[in-house]
């Protein structure tokens, strides 16, 4: 972990990126404050990777609503009507991926793997343009790794090393995305001193996190 940033410092990082992963599941565990900063930035025509597009006014759905996304990789878009509208109007290029395959593709991206073989999607439209590989008489789809220029994630607590703890169901895609992007920024509710997180409860080791953003921590210092 390189440091704790204020809003302007985070904004200064958004310069020339083309792809962004946004954590959260139906906006639960989504980095809403980082999304605010991204919306204020000049970044446009982005490739968004997010398991769903939440709702129009929540989580990654807000990037769709503001028409900042040109290409989307997601598993579910049903609760954000804007996504479907932009897709059918051909303003947004959507790749729908089974949720488990999406998780594994991001995991592969972060783990240095060349892809993953799964039977999920065989015999469906999700198999289009994908290689089918036979292993010991059984067919599998080859799902390729996913990485992004930025990952915006959300955790409940961080320590000064950037180790992250996620409360309950807010974990979802956040730890996976933390491994699979060039620049990883974590919005956290609270930053505690080294040693104050139970080491076994850390779901993302701080080495994956470039920067922390925590308005409550700024206020505490001032």
């Amino acid at each position: 972990m390189k440091g704790i940033l204020d809003k302007q410092q985070v904004a200064d990082l958004f310069i020339d990126q083309h792809s962004v992963m946004v954590g959260g599941f139906m906006a639960n565990g989504a980095p809403e404050l980082l999304i605010d900063i991204l919306l204020d930035s000049k970044l446009r025509d982005l490739h968004l990777i997010s398991t769903d597009t939440a709702m129009p006014d929540k989580g990654s759905g807000r990037l769709i609503t503001a028409k900042r996304i040109k290409r989307l990789t997601a598993s579910h878009i049903g609760l954000n009507p804007n996504t479907g509208k932009q897709m059918f109007a051909e303003e947004l290029d959507v790749e729908l991926v089974p949720q488990g395959s999406l998780a594994e593709r991001i995991r592969c991206g972060g783990a240095g793997l060349g892809g993953v073989l799964t039977p999920t999607g065989l015999g469906t439209l999700a198999a289009e343009n994908k290689r089918v590989i036979e292993v010991e008489g059984q067919q599998f789809l080859l799902e390729l790794p996913l990485r992004a220029d930025i990952a915006l994630i959300k955790a409940s607590k961080a320590d000064e090393r950037g180790n992250l703890f996620y409360a309950k169901t807010t974990r979802n895609f956040n730890p996976l995305m933390a491994t699979a992007a060039t620049l990883v920024i974590a919005q956290v509710d609270e930053i505690v001193a080294k040693g104050q997180l139970e080491a076994e409860s850390i779901a993302t080791p701080g080495i994956f996190v470039d920067y922390l953003y925590c308005p409550a921590h700024q206020n505490q210092k001032e």
Binding site: F25, M26, A27, N28, G29, T51, D52, A54, M55, A74, S75, H76, I77, G78, L79, G84, M87, F88, V94, L96, P98, Q99, G100, S101, A103, E104, R107, T118, P119, T120, G121, L122, G123, T124, L125, A126, S156, Y166, A167, K168, T169, T170, R171, N172, F173, N174, P175, L176, A203
Partner: protein, 211 residues
């Protein structure tokens, strides 16, 4: 669908569940099944956003912003519940560790195919975790209305893009319990006051009672 019909479907699906089963309940009608499980049956309910041990919907006092189901709704968890990331969640699903997946469908056919994620040109909710669930779960039960505004949903062959091929074990509708088989759907049980003729009239595939 009337409350009575939904009640009948949910309670009938619940009878298929055994003590200790790891179960994933889809949104809508399937999510009601948990309310009808016998008192001597304890399930481990998975929510694919990262929880084993879902209890039920949270009322206003219980709602915790950090605890939701796969539809993003506030829920409660049982004592002894555990949380994990999405890779672990789908390891549970895809690795065959879910005993029963209960979900809705737009169409089911006699070759045990189902369609529930895309109506080309009209509606594209996406598959979410459904493709993984139907391929990975040991038993797949479809809980749905028998027809869509009078249009049959038990078909010889699905017309919509498939969610998976050959994975459906059982279909429960307000008309009864049906098992896909290459010659049609075997009728395992009819709902009260439903005749085979009534169920057949609402189905495109052939229904039959095993001799």
């Amino acid at each position: 669908m009337s409350v009575d019909k939904r009640h009948w479907i949910a309670q009938r699906v619940a009878k298929e569940l055994k003590n200790g089963d790891v179960v994933n309940l889809g949104i809508g009608l399937p999510s009601l099944v948990g309310n009808y499980v016998a008192s001597n049956v304890e399930l481990i309910i998975q929510s694919e956003n990262g929880l084993l041990g879902l209890d039920g919907m949270a009322n206003e006092d219980q709602a915790d912003p950090d605890l939701v189901n796969a539809g993003g709704q506030a829920i409660t968890a049982v004592e002894g519940a555990c949380y994990f990331d999405s890779a672990m969640s789908f390891t549970i699903i895809r690795g065959g560790h879910v005993d029963v997946s209960i979900l809705g469908a737009l169409e089911v056919d006699q070759d045990a195919n189902l369609a529930n994620w895309l109506v080309p040109g009209k509606l594209a909710p996406g598959m979410g975790g459904a493709m993984d669930l139907v391929v990975g779960a040991r038993t797949v039960i479809i809980a749905m209305e028998h027809t869509n505004k009078g249009k049959p949903k038990l078909l010889k062959r699905c017309s919509l893009p498939l969610t998976a091929t050959g994975q459906v074990n059982l279909v429960v509708t307000e008309f009864g319990v049906f098992k896909p088989n290459t010659r049609g759907f075997e009728v395992l049980e009819l709902a009260p006051n439903v005749s085979l003729e009534m169920a057949q009239a609402a189905s495109q595939a052939t229904l039959y009672v095993s001799a």
